[in-house]
Structure formats: structure tokens, C-alpha cells
């Protein structure tokens, strides 16, 4: 039964490692709660509306503030220049068949 014990030991180690990682994630979130609270108050105080991820174009820096047709607004039929333009899915148009 040596191999069975070896396999059981391997699975127990992996499950234990995952449990430790999960607990460390939970405690990490808990420990960072004061930091999150500061960032939340920052959003409120500075009236921020978007995250500073994609700074390559205005419609990717502030996707929530962009025009409905922002990726194509620079000139007629212009294609989307920026890879991050793909971050926003096409809007759901009510009543339109897709």
C-alpha cells in the first residue's frame, strides 16, 4: 500500500497548501481592509469614477464617461487604434436583434 500512502500524502499536502493559500487570501483581504477603507474614502472625496488602468485613450481611461460611440469618434469609419479598446463590450441595444 506504499503507493496509495504516497498518493494520499501528495493530495493531503496539496489540499493543505490550498487551504493555507485560501486562508492567507482571506486574512490578506482582512488586513488590507483599512487600506481599502482609505481608498474608498479617496474615491468619495475626489469624486473618482474610474480606475487608472488603461491610460492609452480617453475612452479606455474613463470607460464609464465615454460617449456611446467613443472608439470610432475621431473620424468617420476610423478603426479602433488601441488594444484596450477591446475592454468594453458592445452595448445591449434594447429591441435590436443581435
Amino acid at each position: 500500500m506504499f503507493k496509495t500512502r504516497l498518493f494520499a500524502g501528495f493530495i493531503i499536502i496539496e489540499v493543505a497548501a490550498l487551504a493555507v493559500l485560501y486562508l492567507s487570501a482571506a486574512s490578506g483581504v482582512h488586513l488590507k481592509e483599512p487600506e481599502m477603507s482609505l481608498k474608498r474614502s479617496m474615491v468619495r472625496a475626489m469624486k473618482l469614477t474610474d480606475i487608472a488602468f488603461w491610460t492609452e485613450a480617453r475612452y479606455t481611461r474613463h470607460p464609464s464617461q465615454a460617449d456611446f460611440f467613443a472608439p470610432f469618434q475621431d473620424f468617420p469609419s476610423s478603426v479602433d487604434h488601441f488594444p484596450a479598446g477591446s475592454v468594453v463590450p458592445p452595448p445591449q441595444i434594447h429591441g435590436a436583434k443581435r
Binding site: 500500500m1 503507493k3 496509495t4 504516497l6 498518493f7 501528495f10 493530495i11 496539496e14 489540499v15 497548501a17 490550498l18 493559500l21 485560501y22 492567507s24 487570501a25 482571506a26 490578506g28 483581504v29 488590507k32 487600506e35 481599502m36 482609505l38 481608498k39 474608498r40 474614502s41 479617496m42 474615491v43 468619495r44 472625496a45 475626489m46 469624486k47 473618482l48 469614477t49 474610474d50 480606475i51 487608472a52 488602468f53 488603461w54 491610460t55 492609452e56 485613450a57 480617453r58 479606455t60 481611461r61 470607460p63 464609464s64 464617461q65 460617449d67 460611440f69 469618434q73 488601441f82 488594444p83 484596450a84 477591446s86 475592454v87 468594453v88 463590450p89
Partner: protein, 384 residues
């Protein structure tokens, strides 16, 4: 229980006989799980953090539209807006974009207002007088400047401003402030040459959150050329963005997923002659069909469960300890300024269960089903 133990022992011996093949399968399986889990972990972590943060955004942001484009909004609207029932605090925002040709990066310039005075995640302080500014960590690193250094911004001969840095936003707030330059309202208006009676947009708080959409409708009726953006829409946008982005990354790995599915399908639709003969011998020496099925079940469980757990551990380490090194270029796009990947470890157990049922269960089934076909056949004909 003892019987199960012996079958597991035999299953492990069977796997060890074809160790190169089984090890390769386990390695590919682990990498596939690691890739899929990395995408799910990263997107879920950023989505959760973003939604938690932006839940504190203003209830309504009012933009002025002209010719279908965002236009500066007259501040005289504020008087009319404050007369609408249910409207709380109204604040004009002054902000804009600046392309820095020196570093080829875009900054977001924002005017300081008194509510920002006590913002905490900052080394130094917020600007108090004209000619001062606070910058995000990304701007400070890119321009290689710090507190007490000067930063020069120019839009031409007339529109330029030399600012003394009095504060830098901390690195852990980079997700919000990485590209920000906060300067006084007078400096910003002068720099962008904005008319004195206009703002970029107006934020509106609503006293009763249940009345937000009604207030927005009233605003729309009062100012037909305006576009009220609700906080709910803003949160929905980010929910979509991360789901969409995650979907796109998953599609990029579709080839790997498809290859694995073909492999599982190939396994499910038939077993090779050697395996068939082995089943025949086991049946001939007295194994029941159920014993053979248990054997194949355990073979599948050993490979898929150990690969699944290994893949999950690799994904966790990749995303939360190694800052998603392999996925970062996909998410970054062409952004010159991009905050360091340090997602908060929010984990959705439901996603892990879904991944388990979509990978481990089909693999185990693919091991058991063809063996069942062979196990119910006559041992003599199977061995031949």
C-alpha cells in the same frame, strides 16, 4: 474500504507502468488548469476591488453633450439643478487629459477642491496654493521626480505650467491615482484655457438612493442636451469590462482548451488494444465489471485531481505572488502608465467548483465510459 485501497494501489501501479504518457497528461492538465484559474482569479480579484471602490463614486455625473460629444458644462446649471426635488450636494469637476510627449504617456489632470483636503493615501500633502501639485506614483516614477521637485507641463507657448510637487499618492492607491496630477483649479483653468463659467462635468448626490433614476429623468427633462451617468451604470460598465476582458483572454487560450478537449474526447471514444487486453485479463482472472470500473475511475481521479490541485496552486502563486507576469501584457494593452499588478486576493469558491466540474468530472468520465464498454464484453474476445 480495504478493497478500495487495493484497487487504488493497483491503479497507481498501472499508471506508473506508463509513467511518461501519464506524467505528460498530468503536466498538460495542470498547465491548462493554471491558465484558466489565473484568468478567473485575476479578473475576479480586480472586478471585486474595482466594484467595492467605485461604489463610493458620485450618484450622478452630469455631462453636457454637443453634437453627440462630451462638451464643457455651464456652471449656471447648478442653480437650476439645486431646485430639483431630491437633489443633494452638487459639485462641478474640473479635469482633463494631458499627453506628455516627453514620456509618450497620458496623464489625467484634476483640479483640487476642498473635499480632497483630508485624502489619506498620500506622501506629503495636497496642493494648497497655485504652482503646487500632487502626482500619482506612475507619473512620479515615469518622470523620475519626487516631493519638492518641479514638473513642467506644456500645451504650447502660451499654455504651460511649472508645478512644484508637494505630494505623491502612495503606490497602494495606484489603481486609482497612477496617472493623476492634482493641481489647483486656477492652474488647471489657465492651463487648459477653460472658460471661467464652465466645468468639465457636474457631480450630483441624491438624498434618497431609491430616487436616483427619477432625479436623473427630471434632469434629462430639464436639460435635454445633457447626459446623466448613474453610479449603477458605472458599476455595470466595470462588471462588463472585466467579464468581457476575461472572456477575450479565455478565447486566446481557446486553442489549448480545444486541444485538451480533443484529447479527452479521443480517450472517451475508445481505448487502445493494450488497455483492452489488460481489462480482458483482469476479467479472466476473476475481476467483476464493477472492479474494473473502480480501477478506471481511480486512474482518472489520480491524474485529474492531482493536476487540478497543482494547477490551482500554480495559478494562485502566479496571480497573487508573481503579479500575473504572463497575463499582464494582455491586460495592459498600449498603456505607458500602468499600475503594478497587485490584485487584492478576492477568491470566488464558486468559480473553483465550476472549473472542477468542467475539467475533472469529464476527464474521469472519459476514463470510465470506454472501459465499461470493454469490461462488459466477453473476456476471451477482448483478449484476442
Amino acid at each position: 474500504m480495504k478493497g478500495h485501497g487495493r484497487i487504488i494501489e493497483y491503479a497507481l501501479s498501472t499508471l506508473a507502468r506508463r509513467k511518461f504518457k501519464n506524467f505528460s497528461v498530468a503536466a498538460v492538465f495542470s498547465v491548462l488548469i493554471a491558465v484558466l484559474s489565473s484568468i478567473l482569479f485575476l479578473m475576479h480579484a480586480y472586478k471585486t476591488e474595482t466594484l467595492k471602490l467605485l461604489d463610493n463614486s458620485p450618484e450622478i455625473i452630469l455631462q453636457n453633450m454637443s453634437g453627440g460629444r462630451h462638451e464643457l458644462i455651464p456652471t449656471e446649471y447648478i442653480g437650476t439643478l439645486s431646485g430639483i426635488a431630491g437633489v443633494g450636494q452638487i459639485t462641478p469637476r474640473y479635469w482633463g487629459y494631458y499627453y506628455d510627449s516627453l514620456t509618450s504617456a497620458n496623464y489625467t489632470l484634476m483640479a483640487f477642491d476642498e473635499t480632497m483636503r483630508d485624502v489619506k493615501p498620500i506622501d506629503g500633502r495636497m496642493p494648497a496654493a497655485d504652482g503646487e501639485c500632487a502626482v500619482g506614483r506612475g507619473v512620479a516614477d515615469l518622470r523620475q521626480v519626487g516631493i519638492k521637485d518641479d514638473i513642467f507641463l506644456t500645451l504650447g507657448t502660451e499654455q504651460n505650467v511649472n508645478l512644484k510637487i508637494v505630494g505623491t499618492f502612495t503606490a497602494n492607491s495606484a489603481i486609482l491615482t497612477n496617472d493623476l496630477v492634482v493641481l489647483t483649479k486656477a492652474d488647471l483653468i489657465k492651463f487648459f484655457n477653460m472658460p471661467a463659467d464652465k466645468a468639465t462635468d457636474i457631480t450630483i448626490e441624491v438624498n434618497n438612493p431609491a430616487e436616483v433614476s427619477m432625479v436623473a429623468r427630471k434632469i434629462r427633462r430639464t436639460f435635454p442636451d445633457s447626459r446623466p451617468i448613474l453610479k449603477n451604470e458605472l458599476l455595470r460598465t466595470y462588471d462588463n469590462i472585466f467579464n468581457w476582458r476575461g472572456g477575450i483572454v479565455l478565447i486566446m487560450f481557446f486553442g489549448a482548451i480545444a486541444a485538451f478537449m480533443i484529447f479527452v474526447w479521443d480517450k472517451a471514444t475508445g481505448i487502445n488494444a493494450e488497455e483492452r487486453q489488460e481489462i480482458g485479463i483482469l476479467k479472466a482472472i476473476g475481476w467483476e465489471t464493477s472492479d474494473v470500473l473502480q480501477l478506471k475511475f481511480w486512474e482518472g481521479v489520480v491524474v485529474s485531481l492531482s493536476s487540478f490541485l497543482t494547477g490551482l496552486i500554480l495559478a494562485y502563486m502566479h496571480v497573487f505572488y508573481f503579479h500575473a507576469q504572463f497575463l499582464a501584457p494582455v491586460l495592459k494593452g498600449w498603456s505607458v502608465l500602468f499600475p503594478k499588478f497587485e490584485p487584492m486576493p478576492y477568491i470566488d469558491i464558486y468559480q473553483i467548483f465550476v472549473l472542477f466540474f468542467l475539467t475533472v468530472v469529464p476527464y474521469v468520465a472519459a476514463c470510465v465510459v470506454p472501459s465499461w464498454k470493454a469490461a462488459i464484453s466477453d473476456p476471451d474476445s477482448v483478449m484476442r
